[in-house]
Amino acid sequence: MLDQPMTPNSRNCKILYFAWVREKMGRGSEEIEIPSSVLTVGDLIFFLKSKGGEYALALENESVIRVALDQAHASRETKLGQPREIALFPPVTGG
């Protein structure tokens, strides 16, 4: 077991996309492995954006992207922890 590369705190998470983030991503959800270097929500956005392609497109205007961890609003400084579910979406427009 010690022969395997250790990535403590690297974790598989379900990521959900909503509204135009979902449209730009071309899918509503996926599983993503998040490396141990990603500590905060801000890090997560940076990590996803760096994957390029649809990620770069969907997160182009990154300052407007909102994030929820396990269905609770999170700020850029929020520690990512070990969420079961992450969601990325534009500012909400209900009501």
């Binding site: 509204a19 929820a68 609770a72 979406f89 500012p91 909400v92 009501g95």
Partner: protein
């Protein structure tokens, strides 16, 4: 003390009657109904589709209601929000609050709407009569409306 998320329309009169029940400590009921307008920035609206985040929507609405119940002594409250595709004139949301006197019911209803507008995970997509469609941008005013309720 009730939150509902539904596709179907609602009957405001029946909802307000149920909210009140036979509680004779209620002297004031305030209701807010939000509905789909026929003309939007881009032109005449054909329909509007509300996407939401199942699970988070309900818990976020409950959090907002709980916060209102903490800040004001309400006898009853109700939040109903619809999702799916709606036409101009259709109701989207109903918020109702009941209290002994009017100031609390008014403030709590405004608070719930301001928080709902900036925190409940709903997104509106408009389809215009000319065939164009697009996502509604968040209104700048909604963020500042929420911020006036911040407690330090």
């Amino acid at each position: 003390m009730s939150v509902r998320l539904q596709r179907e329309s609602f009957d405001i009169g029946a909802e307000l009657k149920a909210l009140r029940g036979d509680n004779c400590d209620i002297g004031a009921v305030v209701s807010f109904t939000g509905s789909v307008r026929g003309t939007v920035g881009g032109g005449d609206l054909l329909s509007m589709t509300l996407e939401h985040y199942p699970g988070m929507t309900e818990s976020e609405l409950r959090l907002i209601e709980d916060e209102a119940l903490k800040r004001w002594s309400l006898e009853a409250s109700l939040i109903i929000h619809r999702y799916g595709t709606l036409e101009p004139g259709e109701d989207i949301v109903l918020v109702a609050t009941a209290s002994p006197h009017r100031a609390e019911a008014f403030e709590a209803a405004q608070f719930i709407m301001d928080y709902l507008k900036s925190r409940a995970p709903f997104w509106k997509n408009e389809t215009l009569r000319d065939g164009k469609s697009g996502w509604v941008d968040a209104r700048e005013g909604d963020k500042s409306a929420e911020e006036r309720w911040k407690t330090s």
